[in-house]
Each structure stands twice: as C-alpha cells, then as structure tokens.
C-alpha cells in the first residue's frame, strides 16, 4: 500500500472542517469543536498510516497538478513528501492535535468557541500547506495564509483593544519580512527560471554559481521571510505582544508551528544559501537568542517569559541553520515543539486555574492545588533548560556541538551563556510561580484543570522526556546527511559523550543558572534582581526599548509618509482629478437630459435635425 492520496486528504481535511464550521455549524459549539479536532486527529492518524506504509522516503516523493499556466509561467500545486516534510507533518498534526483537544477544555466558557475552532482549523490547513508545498509560489501563498489565520487568532478577543493591536502588529511585522521573502522568490525565479524546490536544487547542484553575484542577496532576501515568521531580530517585536491571544493559540502558533515555519523553510531551501548568507543568518540567530534570553530574565507575565524563551530558542535554531547544521536545527525544532507546547499549555492551565491571572508574583504554592500541572510543568522546565536526559539536553547539545565543529567560538560562547540564562529565567519562573506560599487569594483557591486539558499535558510531557533519544536525529540525518550512521536508542542516549566539551560546558551552564536562580528566587517575596543590576534590569524589563525605538523612528517616519500620501490622495487625486471628472460627467448628464423636454414638437424637430446632420456629413461634401 502506498496511500498516494493520503497527503492530499491530510492537507484538505482542516480546510473542510473550517468551511463546514463557518457555513453551517457556527451555532453549535460542541459540534464545531469536534469537527475541528476530528479533522486534525484524523490527519495525524493518516500521517502515521502513510509513514507506516511508505517510510520516511516514499517512492513517489512529489505529486503535483498544474494549477495555472500563463505563457511560459507554469504554477504547480504539489506536495513534497520526504523526511523533512513528513516529520513536520507529524509535529503539526500531533502537537497541534493535542493543543486542539486542550482548547476544547480551555475555551469551553467562551461563547465564540465555534469561531475559535474554525480559525484553528484554517490555521492548521495553512501550516500544513507550508509544510507540504513543493514550490516557492505555493509556499508563499500558504505563508500568507498562516499570517492571516494567526492575525485572526491573536485578535480572537477583538473586543480587547490590546488584542486588536497585537494582531495588527503581528500581521504587519510579518508582512515586512514577507516583502523581502517575495523579492527573494522573484529573484530566484528570475535567475533560475523555476519555482519548484526539486528543480531548483538540481539547478544549484549542476552549477553552484548559478545565482552569480546575486547569490548572497537572494539568500538574505529569502531569509527575510524567516526573520518575520520566526521572529528574529530586528522583527522580533511582535511575538511577545501576540500573547494577547488565547493561550492554546500561543502554544500552537507561537511555540510549536508557525514560528517554526521560518526555520523549516530555511532547511527546505538550504541549497540556495551561500557562505556569506549563512554567516549573517548564524549571527542574527545568535544575537536573537542572547537578546531574548536577557529580556526574559526580567519579565513577570508567565506567558511573556515563555514568549521570550521561544524567541531565544528560535534564535538557537536559526543560528544552527547558519552554521550548516540543519539536523540540529530541525532536531531542536522538534523537541522544542514538544516541551514549549507543554509549557504554554501548562501556563494556560495555571491561568485557567487562577481565573485569568498571569503575573507570576501573584501566584505561588501551586504544587498542592494543581499537581498534574505542577509535575508536567517541571518536566517542561527541565527539558527547556537542557538537563540530561530530557529532550532539550540532546537537541541543545547537538547545536553546541555544531558551533564547535564549525570553529565559531564566539557563537559557541553565546550559546553556552544563553543556555545558562535559559535555566536561570525558567527556574525563576518555576520557583516564584509554583513553590513557596500562595501570595494572593486567587492562588489560594486555585483548582486543577479538567482531564481534557491535563491529558494533552501528560502526553506532551512524555515526549519532552524521551524526545532526545527516540530516533528523531536519525530521521533528519537520512534527509540531510544520508551517510551518517544509524544509532540505536542506547547509542543516542549516550551520544553527547562523544563530544565531551560542549556537553560539559552545557551542563555546567545549566548548573550555574540553576544555582543562581535558587539563590535569588528560592524563597523570596519580591524580585531582588533590579536592586542588584540597576539600569540593566530596567532595560531588560522594558525589552531594551525596541518598541519605543521603532515607535520613535520607523513608525513616526511611516506616519509622516502616510499623512503626505493621504493629502495627495484626498485632495489631489480624489478632489482635483476624480472630483473634476465625476463632476464633469454628472454635469454633462444633467445637461443632456434637458434635451428630453417631453415636448413632441421638439422631439420631431431634433429627430429631423439629426437626419439632416447625418445627411450633410455623409453627402454634403
């Protein structure tokens, strides 16, 4: 059995669910939710069935249909099926499915739950489209669809002005990156004459200099798309604000899937990137990782801490791609999807249990009231911090190893330092929010979430524990470095020992971070750090003033340009040009109408006059 049609079904099931919900079942909350959950869970089962039947490298790795054909331009709509896309398919439908189920509990009180699930399914469809696309054009279309559906989801509670603003900010910031992405696609198309990934790869292989002098520009322009979607510096500002959306959305979009799209895309088109472009990419990633980790240290909102930690981890992945390590990047993307989704859902469970409280300083002592959330959250924290043998340890170690192997000691140092910071801010969150005594009434009366929410937590926490050594690297290696040896589970478990320096430094950083966090936050009622760090802490707390900086420069400039354009449009185009034409047309209509007096004699006269004029013109000369 090769189930050739299964991927098409997997792709279009969520769209069908979204359509049915939007058109027919908006009035029925539960049915809508079940449709949406059913679509993605079926998608997951079908993905597993497909992989069981075909392995990770199907014989038919590409199916496509001509979508439109204009002259020499032919646009295909096709699916690419290889280890990379199939693993992403598993992540999106698997982790996404868990988040869908969790949402059923989390959103249960919301009266627009049906609308929520319609958006969720639309998002899933768009994300699957990116993953399965076999060409740039199709990927770009789904790329934009992801932007739209994330806009809808972030702004789901549109009655809150902050949610509306965050949705706009996310969309517009993404569009900035997408503009570069589009230019990059056009440049590649113009130079290589194709949009199909397979054909592009073949062209680059046949002639590595095919892009000529534009190679760096093309690579960096395409990278712009990833900068926007994966929220890399300088377009990182949208991700933290996007936490205004419902927490499952944060888990789905801003941890497991959408922000991963940029990294996925870079791995998909890795062959287009030359050494210079890769260099820039690795440093952008490293800088983002450091910047975001520093900001995370001084945040107090539980979701914002996780958001900046996401940024920081994405920085790791981008850095790894830049260091020519696609396997470590995708490996970290996968394990990160497990534990970050787990952490977000855990945070959602806390917020749910504390009646929408998000400030960690108003929590405390949650261990007693929310045992499942507590235990799963600590697993997530350990995995993110990179404590062996949790999943994050292995993937982070492979990135550190990659940096060392490339002899980029600066980035290696940054990565180790960020690893320490990560442990520090995560345990700060953990100590303050979960341990100690309840600080508020809300925290005293916290309650555990229902099984529909804790179930996904347990499943994800299992993955966060074992994700590092169940063969994920083997699958990615089969795509990127086919000649790498296949390791057994035991070998994977001990793999970091082969490269002892990064492992020891990584564990050392974790130990330092943990120790610092315990000393400072082990038992404290307020944050001691601002007093110790002074101005630096304030800068961290205020996200290094990037929003203010952009506000003062780009946005002000843009507002000025917009005012000028508005003036031109309103007064010159609309008033002078269009107004003149419109008024003239209207006036001539009203004037001509006067001819139609209704008087029969006049009519007969005009008729005869018309005949006379025609006769004169035709015969008079």
């Amino acid at each position: 059995m090769n189930y050739a049609n299964l991927p098409w079904i997997i792709l279009f099931l969520p769209l069908a669910a979204a359509t049915v919900i939007a058109l027919f079942t908006l009035g029925n909350r539960t049915l809508s939710a079940l449709l949406s959950i059913g679509a993605i869970v079926t998608g997951f089962i079908l993905t597993v069935a497909f992989i069981a039947g075909n392995g990770f490298h199907p014989a038919v790795s590409e199916t496509s249909a001509t979508w439109l054909s204009i002259g020499t331009l032919q646009a295909d709509f096709g699916l690419k099926l290889d280890a990379l896309s199939l693993m992403m398919l598993l992540i999106v439908t698997g982790v996404g499915g868990a988040i869908h189920i969790y949402s059923f509990g989390y959103m249960h009180e919301d009266r627009s739950m049906a609308r929520f699930f319609a958006f969720l399914s639309l998002f899933t469809f768009s994300m699957l489209g990116i993953v399965l696309a076999n060409n740039f054009l199709q990927m770009f279309i789904f790329w934009e669809l992801v932007g739209v559906s994330s806009y809808l989801l972030i702004g789901f509670w549109f009655e809150k002005p902050s949610a509306g603003d965050a949705a706009k900010k996310a969309f517009i910031t993404n569009r900035l990156g997408d503009f570069g992405f589009m230019l990059g696609i056009l440049l590649v198309w113009g130079l290589l004459g194709s949009l199909n990934f397979g054909e592009l790869a073949a062209a680059m292989k046949a002639n590595p200099a095919a892009l000529g002098t534009a190679a760096t520009a093309a690579g960096l322009l395409v990278f712009c798309g990833a900068v926007g979607k994966s929220a890399q510096f300088p377009l990182h500002v949208w991700l933290a604000d996007a936490m205004e959306g419902p927490t499952p959305v944060s888990a789905l979009i801003h941890a497991a899937t959408m922000v991963a799209a940029g990294v996925y895309m870079l791995c998909r088109i890795f062959f287009l990137l030359n050494a210079d472009a890769l260099h820039v990419i690795s440093y952008v990633g490293g800088f983002t990782a450091l910047l975001a980790a520093l900001i995370a240290v001084q945040q107090n909102d539980i979701k914002r801490i996780l958001a900046y930690s996401t940024l920081s981890q994405l920085g790791y992945m981008v850095m790894s791609v830049g260091l020519s390590g696609e396997t470590p990047a995708m490996f970290h993307l996968t394990t990160h999807a497990f534990f970050k989704a787990l952490l977000f859902l855990g945070a959602g469970s806390v917020i749910h249990g504390l009646h929408e409280e998000q400030d960690i300083w108003k929590m405390g002592g949650l261990k007693k009231h929310m045992p499942i959330t507590f235990w799963t959250f600590i697993i997530g924290t350990l995995a993110l911090s990179g404590v062996p043998p949790f999943a994050g340890f292995y993937s982070k170690d492979s990135i550190l190893g990659q940096a060392l192997a490339q002899h980029d000691y600066l980035l290696f140092g940054v990565a180790v330092f960020v690893a320490g910071l990560t442990t520090f801010y995560m345990f700060r969150l953990f100590f303050v929010a979960f341990l100690g005594e309840p600080r508020t009434e809300k925290a005293k009366h916290a309650h555990e979430s229902p099984a529909v929410m804790t179930g996904p937590l347990v499943v994800l926490s299992v993955l966060a524990v074992v994700g590092g050594f169940i063969g994920i690297t083997t699958i990615y290696n089969s795509q990127f470095t086919p000649d790498a040896e296949k390791l057994t589970v035991a070998q994977q478990l001990l793999e970091p020992l082969h490269n002892i320096v990064p492992m020891l430094l990584g564990i050392g950083a974790v130990a330092v971070g943990l120790f610092a966090a315990y000393t400072l936050y082990g038992r404290t009622e307020s944050d001691p750090l601002p007093a110790k760090l002074g101005g630096l802490a304030t800068a961290m707390k205020n996200r290094f003033y990037f929003d203010e900086l952009y506000e003062a420069t780009f946005i002000r400039l843009h507002d000025g340009l917009a005012a000028v354009a508005d003036f031109i449009d309103r007064w010159l185009v609309e008033g002078l040009c269009i107004g003149f034409i419109r008024g003239g047309t209207d006036l001539s209509g009203r004037t001509l109408r006067l001819l139609q007096t209704g008087n029969l004699q006049t009519y007969a006269f005009l008729f005869t006059l018309g005949v006379a004029v025609v006769l004169y013109l035709m015969l008079g000369k």
Partner: protein, 489 residues
C-alpha cells in the same frame, strides 16, 4: 415559390388570431389562462425549431427571394420566440393592471412576434418595410394599452408620430433606391451596387433607410423617443421594445448593410464609429440623474444599442469576414434578452403595489423578497458587464472584435476607449440600483412581496440564461458564429 418555408410565421399568426377569438368566448376570470396557452404554444414551436421539424430550420428562399431562411434568420427566430415567451410571462404578472382586453394584449404580443419573425427572414426592401410596419403598428397599440393612464396614452402618441416620421423617411429611402437601381431584392442589389457607390441619390436613399432602422434600435441621433416611450408604456411592452423591437432593427440593419450593400457599408466605417460612440455616451450620461426605473432602463437600452453598434462598425471594417463582429452582436443580444427580462420582471412585481416607479421603491427589497433582490442585482451586474455574467462576455467579444481592427483605422481605438469610459459611467447608475436595494436608509415598507409560481419560472429561466451564457458561452457562441457567416461577403 415555396410557401411551406413560412409555416412558422403562419402558425404564429394563426396563434394570434386564435387568441383573439378565444378572448371573445372566454369568461373574464379565465382569461389569464390565455397567456399560459400562448406560452405553451410558442414553447412547442421553439422545441420544433430545435428538433429540426420547424420550417425555420429548412434553408431556402420563397416569394422570388423576398423571404429567406438561413442560419441568421434561424438564430433570430429562436431568439424572438424565447423573447416573446418570456415577455408573455411578464405580461401575465402585469395582467391585473390592464383594465380590459388582456386577451388582445397577449395576441398583440404574438402579432408583433410574427412581424419580428418576418423581419428575421426579410431579403427584400418591400418585405423589410412590411415586417417593420407590422412590428411598429402593433407596438403603437401595445404602448398605449393602459387606456386609463395618461402616461401610457402620451407615450403611445409620441411613439406613433415619431414612428410615422421615421417610417416616412424610410419609405422615401426605399423609393430612391428603387428609382436609381431598379432592384429591391438584397442579393440582386448586392450584385449591382458597385456601379452606384458614387451616386448621391442612391446613397441618400440608403442613408434614409439607415435612419429608419436607427430609429428602431434607438441609436443616436434617432434615440429621442426612447426614454419617454419606455417610461410611459406598460412594463411588458417596454421589455419587448427593449429586446424584440431592438433586435429586429439589428437583424434588418445587418442584412441591409452587409448582405445588400457591403460596398457602401465599407465606406461608412466612420459614420458607424461616431454613431456608436455618441450613442454609448448619450445613453450612459443621461442615465446618471434618472430616478425613474423604467426611464433609467430606457437610457440604458440606448447605451446598449451603442455597444451593439460596436459590432456593426467592426463588420464594416472588414466586410469579408463578419464572424467576429456578427457573432459578438448576436451573443450580446442573447445575454441582453435574459438580463432585460429579469430586471423588468422584478420591476413589474415590485411596482405592483405602489403607484411610483422611482428607484426608492426598491428600498429594503432584500428583506421583502431576497429572490427579487438577488435577481435585480444579478441583472444590474450583468448589464454593467462584470464577470462571470453574460453581459461581461458579450462586451468582451464586442470590444475584441473592434480592437482587432485598430491597426487599420485609428478611429477604432477611440471607439474602444469611449466604450470603456461608457462602461465605467454605467457602473455608477447600475450600482445605484443595487445600492437602493441593499443600503437604503429610510425604508418605509417592509411587507413581503408575493412571487407567484409563473413569475418564479420566468425569474429562474432568466437567471439561468444569464449565468449559463456567462459561464458556458460556447454553445450559443457557436450558433452565433454560424449565423454570422451569412453576413460575410
């Protein structure tokens, strides 16, 4: 001599007479039934024409070549029968507003149809004149049929007097042609016309015939009657004027210009371009300030005559191959038929309860009857020429046929530009109607409008026609192209 070729026309005339007779014997309350009887009979004739049994699908000539059956006449005869059937549907809806003689009203529609069928087959100036007069005289009565309404009578008188004026020009023109050439038959005239292209008396005659036909199609500068008559006439009459009478004018114009006198027509390209351009602008500009729905449709029909003249101008530019322009005209008329019927059916039903025909009666229509609102919207959108409806594809074909000739004569480019400007202007008032349906602020009357079964049939047929022609244009386009070949010389 082959009178059997005319059995369709004879059947239609017999149907008209039967309806009149039946009217005498039928009790008043049963008379609406007559309309359905006429519809059924015409439907049978239409089916016969498609199944190959109708006389109209047998090619040939009769009465010494006065009467011809060819692909062009076949296309138009089917067109006219469909138009009459749909107009009869509208008339059935309108029956309550005609005080006496509804049976006569139906039979007059059928008589006018007979005139149009003869016009489709006319191949001789005498035949042309008789056919046109049969149509026009019938319409004099149809226009003034609401004897109780001053507006209807006024429209009737205006149509009568201006119609008589144009007929007199035309008959004078025919006399001059006969006097100079001694020929009345189109084919015979075509054979000798070459010798007369320099003779002003002959050309004067042809121009006067064109004046008469220009009056029928309401082209500038002979359009002056249209708005008043459209506004005053009973609504089914207006609908029939807008499609039947206009199409009859066009089939005759095409035959005179391109079967009988292609050598003359080829010299008159500029006249046709100018007429087309001014007609388009005049109709669209004057429609802007209109508030009366039927008057608006009157101006709109002038504009559409202008669009159709694009096709005529295109054929004149290359008389040897009339396929592109001719097919575009025929296709456009087919789309226009369904659109006009759809809009006039809605107008008939909406205006029934109120004494005004102002656009404001449409306010809140989408709440009073979603079906009617949707139908009117589709009709307006199609008239404005927006894809995927019939009106778009028709305009596209017409413009395409004209653009193709731009390299030969720069005037064609100016014409295309004018036509596009006209389309843009027309968007304003067509969407003004749509706006009145959906976005009117002060809606006073929200009582639902009852739509009878027969009206629904008519509406669904029109909607199906508009969509089918727009989305699957090939069937009709092939028939039209086949018919247009007759016009190539």
């Amino acid at each position: 001599m082959n009178a059997s070729l005319m059995s369709l026309e004879i059947s239609v005339l017999a149907l008209g007479l039967l309806l009149m007779l039946a009217d005498l014997f039928m009790p008043v309350e049963r008379r609406p039934f007559l309309g359905f009887a006429a519809i059924a009979a015409l439907t049978a004739l239409l089916i016969a024409s498609f199944s190959g049994y109708g006389s109209c699908s047998i090619s040939g000539t009769a009465f010494n070549g006065m009467f011809v059956n060819d692909a062009l006449s076949l296309f138009f005869k089917r067109f006219f029968i469909i138009a009459a059937i749909l107009v009869l549907f509208v008339a059935v809806q309108f029956a309550d507003r005609i005080a006496v003689g509804i049976g006569e009203y139906y039979s007059l529609i059928v008589f006018a149809l007979a005139g149009m069928l003869f016009a489709a087959s006319a191949n001789n100036f005498a035949m042309l004149f008789v056919a046109i007069e049969l149509i026009t005289v019938t319409f004099y009565v149809l226009v003034s049929f609401q004897r109780g309404r001053i507006a209807s009578l006024e429209a009737g008188v205006k149509y009568l007097i201006l119609g008589a004026l144009s007929s007199s020009f035309m008959v004078y023109g025919i006399a001059l042609i006969w006097g100079t050439t001694g020929k009345l038959n189109f084919n015979e005239l075509a054979a000798v016309a070459n010798q007369y292209t320099g003779e002003k008396i002959f050309l004067l005659g042809v121009l006067l015939v064109v004046v008469g036909l220009g009056f029928k199609i309401a082209a500038f500068p002979f359009q002056i009657w249209a708005p008043d008559v459209y506004q005053g006439a009973p609504t089914p009459t207006t609908a029939f004027l807008a499609i039947g009478s206009k199409a009859a004018g066009f089939v005759l114009l095409l035959r005179v210009l391109f079967v009988a006198l292609p050598v003359v027509a080829a010299h008159w390209v500029n006249l046709l371009i100018v007429m087309s351009a001014i007609t388009i602008l005049y109709g669209n500009l004057c429609a802007i300030p209109q508030r009366n729905l039927k008057r608006l449709m009157g101006y709109s029909s002038i504009a559409h005559a202008g669009y159709l003249l694009l096709g005529v101008a295109a054929i004149a530019g290359n008389v040897h191959d009339a396929t592109a322009g001719g097919a575009a005209i025929l296709y456009y008329l087919a789309g226009y038929l369904f659109t006009v019927i759809a809009s006039f059916t809605v107008i008939t039903l909406v205006v029934r309860k109120s004494d005004t025909e102002d656009i404001s009666v449409l306010a809140g229509l989408y709440q009073r009857s979603p079906l009617l609102a949707a139908t009117m919207t589709v009709a307006m959108v199609s008239l404005a020429g927006i894809p995927p409806l019939a009106g778009f594809f028709g305009k596209f074909l017409l413009l395409k046929s004209v653009v193709a000739l731009g390299a030969v004569n720069q005037g064609y480019y100016c014409l295309v530009f004018t036509a596009l400007a006209g389309v843009v202007i027309s968007l304003y008032y067509y969407f003004g109607v749509v706006r009145a349906i959906y976005f009117s602020k002060d809606v006073t009357d929200l009582s639902p409008i009852a739509v009878s079964g027969s009206a629904k049939i008519c509406i669904w047929l029109s909607l199906a026609g508009i969509l089918w022609l727009g989305i699957f244009p090939n069937t009709v386009l092939n028939l039209a192209a086949e018919a247009a070949k007759v016009l190539s010389s």
